[in-house]
């Protein structure tokens, strides 16, 4: 049996990545939330932090990662009540992990004080609190998504002065790893875990996001911190959403948090925050890696679609392939930009071959996915269901002719397969 871990806020920015990471690491996931998570291996249980009730959790659960937070600026009492409900529902041996914020380390804002109060509650309940720094990377959601949007819309960024605030970024996947590690840490000990990288200036952080979004450097306008806070204060009053500005302001005002001890203890090495130069140089670091990996998946999808469907790969289908792959594994298997006739022959040689290694089996799984994606495009409906029979009088002859050719090709492919399959694998697979 896979160990079972419960996650609140599994549909959120961190929750979504954490869920995938947990599944990949061999856990089953129980998602507690208002909206169901539609991923294989996830069971859903209804839970609402604004109207918390004690959920029913199976006894085999090994721990609960509480990510859900009230971002509408609701009452702290409800959040505390939610914590108590969750703790009450947990079996005795299971661990409660509360994802707090760096702002709780030395709070200066209501947001930070609130988090600190909840951390105290967690300690009383025998749980563990995690203080992540500024989370980035992965899908553009949450605060990270908001910041990406912000820098995409404007080419001029504030260079914050008086004071020049620092942030400690952590990649969302690294945070997920920290959380899963904390889940398995020795029991019977409550503590606070600082999960954040080396401090960098907040404007450098924004500039890096901008480089990633826009592919170019941004201009800077020196802005006093106080002005930004006033500005954000206005906009948040207008939208009624307190949290973005509040969380930003509190993060920006946060003092440096020493993380090395916690990280060394947990044995996790955080990836370095990429520099603007590496992003613009498209080298192999974090965020540009996501782009390169998507490009490779798009190219791989294109090759397989052309192989199966004998069509110019429709953009929507190629994208659907890359999206689905990212949701599950995220790594391309085939070399990019192969010459089509070459890759088609090589794919035919590996398709249905008997002696299958792990890579080959993975390739066949992907071909089955592509087969379904190709079939569900209108172009295939015409090519598979209509075109072969258009000439009524000659259809029987054409049909038998086409089948005869395909059977002949199959015989040739089978004959070649026995000694050319290894060469085909060398041509097709990248060496990662």
């Amino acid at each position: 049996m896979r160990p079972l871990v419960a996650i609140t806020g599994a549909t959120g920015y961190i929750g979504e990545r954490l869920t995938l990471k947990a599944l990949q690491s061999g856990y089953s996931v129980l998602a507690l939330g208002r909206r169901p998570v539609d991923v294989v291996g996830v069971t859903n249980v209804a839970f609402d932090i604004q109207k918390p009730l004690i959920p029913s959790l199976p006894s085999e659960i090994i721990g609960l990662i509480h990510l859900a937070a009230d971002i509408q600026g609701g009452s702290l009492d409800a959040e505390r009540e939610a914590l108590r409900c969750l703790a009450a529902a947990l079996p005795k041996e299971a661990r409660l992990l509360f994802v707090s914020s760096q702002s709780a380390a030395a709070p200066t804002s209501p947001y930070g004080y609130g988090k600190l109060e909840l951390e105290t509650e967690v300690t009383q309940l025998g749980g563990v609190s995690i203080r992540p720094g500024l989370v980035y990377g992965g899908p553009k959601k949450g605060l990270y998504g908001k910041l990406c949007n912000l820098v995409r819309r404007t080419r001029i960024l504030p260079r914050l002065i008086w004071p020049r605030p620092l942030v400690q970024p952590i990649h969302v996947d690294d945070l997920a790893e920290c959380l899963l590690t904390a889940l398995n840490a020795p029991h019977k000990k409550t503590y606070v875990f600082a999960a954040a990288g080396q401090p960098i200036a907040f404007d450098t952080f924004l500039a890096t996001l901008a480089a990633n979004e826009n592919g170019s450097r941004s201009l800077f306008l020196p802005t006093p911190m106080i002005a930004l806070q006033v500005l954000l204060g206005f906009s948040s009053k207008a939208t009624g959403n307190l949290s973005a500005s509040d969380r930003l302001a509190s993060l920006a005002a946060t003092k440096r948090m020493d993380t090395s001890a916690d990280l060394i203890k947990s044995g996790i090495t955080l990836r370095p925050f990429p520099s603007i130069d590496t992003i613009l140089g498209r080298s192999n670091l974090d965020m540009s890696e996501a782009r390169a990996s998507r490009r490779a998946l798009l190219s791989e999808g294109g090759l397989m679609i052309a192989y199966l469907g004998r069509i110019k790969p429709p953009l929507s289908t190629v994208r659907a392939y890359a999206r689905t792959m990212e949701q599950f594994k995220g790594q391309s298997l085939l070399k990019a930009n192969l010459w089509r006739p070459f890759s088609t022959l090589a794919l035919a040689l590996l398709d249905r071959s008997k002696a299958l290694g792990e890579r080959e089996q993975e390739l066949l799984r992907r071909l089955d996915l592509v087969l379904r994606l190709v079939e569900s495009h209108p172009v295939s409906a015409t090519r598979w269901l209509v075109a072969p029979f258009e000439n009524r009088a000659m259809a029987p002859v054409f049909t038998i002719g086409a089948i005869g050719i395909a059977v002949g090709q199959e015989i040739i492919v089978r004959a070649l397969r026995s000694f050319l399959a290894p060469a085909a694998a060398r041509i097709l697979f990248n060496n990662v």
Binding site: K329, R352, R365, S376, T399, Q409
Partner: protein, 524 residues
């Protein structure tokens, strides 16, 4: 919560048992664990048209998942039916060995995704029952009227079906060809004990209430957008209109216990994770052959002791009609158009012949001995001249074990009775010959046995007996040792002949429901 009668489950059995209760004006509460999750919407046009024009077809055709296409029914992979099958094994905590446990915790149960085949049991098929065949007559008739049955009448399978269609559904080109060939080879086929006729299906040929007549859209695999195929959730809507009945979804009955004259059902509310209780004078278990068995065994404290039950082992094969090669795909219903029976008595098997148009070509490509790229060419050309056939074997050919464990999980061990392989082999041989006589070539290597349990015809976990023992039920469906608790679904069928058993479950459920009404009015 309180109710005079609680019906656990809103599938075919639950709604059939609820009708007499609601008509008698009893206070009835129906519960099921379903949570209504959004599923993609189906186009309201015919399959071929939808495929050529719908740019968003990938949303409803396939689930975008990275997994090997497996050899079981394509139904289990269809996103529009995901609600029907998902969450069953997890919620019921089912573990299996050599068995694929399929069930539903959704409102309407498995009828939302069924093949709509209907047939009545014959006298000899009911020889293990503690009641005469005639006791079901009136209920077969009333259920048939309620759900609406189309298909043949007075033909070579009238005896097999024991029930006639009100009107015929049109046949597609292959169907008409099969009709003609069967007619000319009928004498020779009857010598071989092979009979064929138009299937009897729970499909409407005339509009009725919110359900529309079948328009041959061919989207049957994905769930009919017109509601032509009967599903229990349609019945539930009509039941609610009677005003005597309440329905709560998201309620998973975990256990029940006696409390004085009444029973208390302990449930988990899946919408908020809370546990709660319902008080009832009578309980009707309609949670399915596995779900009801779990509740009954738990109540009896029958822990860690295996019980037997049956399913109908299945096989499938592909038939090619060489004379039809070159014809374009034609529309029409995607359900079985023809039904056949081979052999007599204990050796009898039956099955349906299904059109291939409304099935994804990829389902066939994965089974064909070709590189996928070439398989697409071959199959897209051949499929319009093909039928998929299935075979149902007698339930007595299976011998499964089900155990309720002390941790509340169900363990199922699937087994075949001795001699099955030999029987299957000889059946395959006979079917090949029979189909050759109607112009169909059973494609070599295509005859494959289905995974045990993938037939989804389960029965006999708590069988009805004349003298029930612990873990059995009496002829009126009453559970041994629990007066006032009745089991109304497939669990109580003592045996499983090789044919569609849904209609019989429904007729029997209605019969038990009528009995409960009589009992309650007598006690008043």
């Amino acid at each position: 919560m309180r109710a005079q009668v609680v019906v656990v489950g809103t599938g075919a059995a639950g709604v059939s048992a609820a009708w007499p209760l609601a008509r008698a004006g009893l206070d009835v509460l129906m519960i099921d664990p379903g949570l209504d999750m959004p599923t993609p919407e189906l186009p309201n046009i015919d399959y071929l048209h939808a495929r050529r024009t719908d740019d968003a077809q990938s949303k409803w055709m396939f689930a975008h998942r990275l997994s090997n296409l497996t050899a079981d029914s394509p139904k289990f992979r269809v996103p529009t039916l995901a609600n029907v099958f998902s969450g069953f094994a997890e919620l019921q905590k089912i573990h299996t060995e050599n068995f694929t446990a399929i069930g539903s915790i959704a409102c309407g149960g498995l009828t939302t995704a069924w093949g709509a085949g209907v047939a009545a049991f014959s006298e000899s098929e009911m020889r293990d029952w503690p009641l005469p065949r005639s006791a079901l007559d009136v209920h077969y008739r009333s259920i048939s009227r309620r759900i609406g049955i189309s298909g043949g009448s007075e033909d070579d399978l009238s005896e097999h079906f024991g029930i006639e269609g009100e009107a015929e559904l049109p046949l597609d080109a292959v169907g008409q060809y099969i009709d003609g060939r069967y007619h000319s080879a009928r004498a020779r086929l009857s010598q071989r004990d092979f009979r064929l006729a138009h299937a009897r299906l729970a499909v409407l040929t005339k509009d009725r209430g919110s359900r529309r007549a079948c328009a041959q859209f061919g989207l049957c695999l994905w769930g009919c957008p017109r509601g032509s195929i009967y599903k229990a959730s349609d019945d539930l809507k009509d039941l609610l209109k009677t005003g005597n009945l309440r329905h709560r979804s998201g309620i998973f009955a975990e256990t029940f216990r006696r409390d004085g004259e009444a029973y208390v059902i302990r449930f988990l509310d899946r919408r908020n994770g809370q546990r709660g209780e319902i008080r009832a004078n009578r309980i009707l278990l309609a949670a399915g052959t596995l779900g009801s068995a779990k509740l009954a065994l738990d109540h009896l404290g029958h822990i860690d002791k295996p019980i037997r039950f049956q399913s109908t082992p299945t096989a499938a094969f592909a038939l090619l009609f060489p004379r039809l090669i070159g014809r374009p795909p034609s529309g029409g219903t995607g359900l079985a158009q023809h039904w056949y029976q081979l052999g007599n008595d204990a050796d009898a098997v039956c099955g349906g012949l299904f059109p291939t148009t409304g099935l994804p070509i990829s389902e066939f490509v994965l089974r064909a001995p070709f590189a996928r790229r070439l398989g697409i060419v071959v199959l897209s050309r051949l499929l319009p001249a093909m039928r998929v056939g299935n075979v149902f074997f007698d339930g007595a050919r299976s011998d499964h074990r089900l155990t309720l464990r002390s941790d509340g999980s169900l363990f199922i061990q699937g087994n075949l009775a001795e001699g099955f392989a030999l029987h299957a082999k000889s059946t395959e041989r006979k079917l090949r010959t029979a189909f050759r006589l109607i112009g169909g070539l059973a494609i070599p290597g295509s005859f494959k046995a289905g995974a045990l349990g993938s037939d989804v015809h389960y029965a006999g976990t708590i069988p009805m007996r004349a003298r029930p023992q612990p873990g059995e039920t009496s002829a009126d469906g009453g559970l041994w040792g629990a007066p006032g608790v009745f089991v109304v679904d497939g669990s109580v069928l003592p045996s499983l002949p090789p044919k569609s058993h849904t209609l019989t479950i429904m007729a029997n459920a209605e019969r038990i429901g009528c009995g409960v009404v009589q009992q309650l009015s007598a006690s008043r």
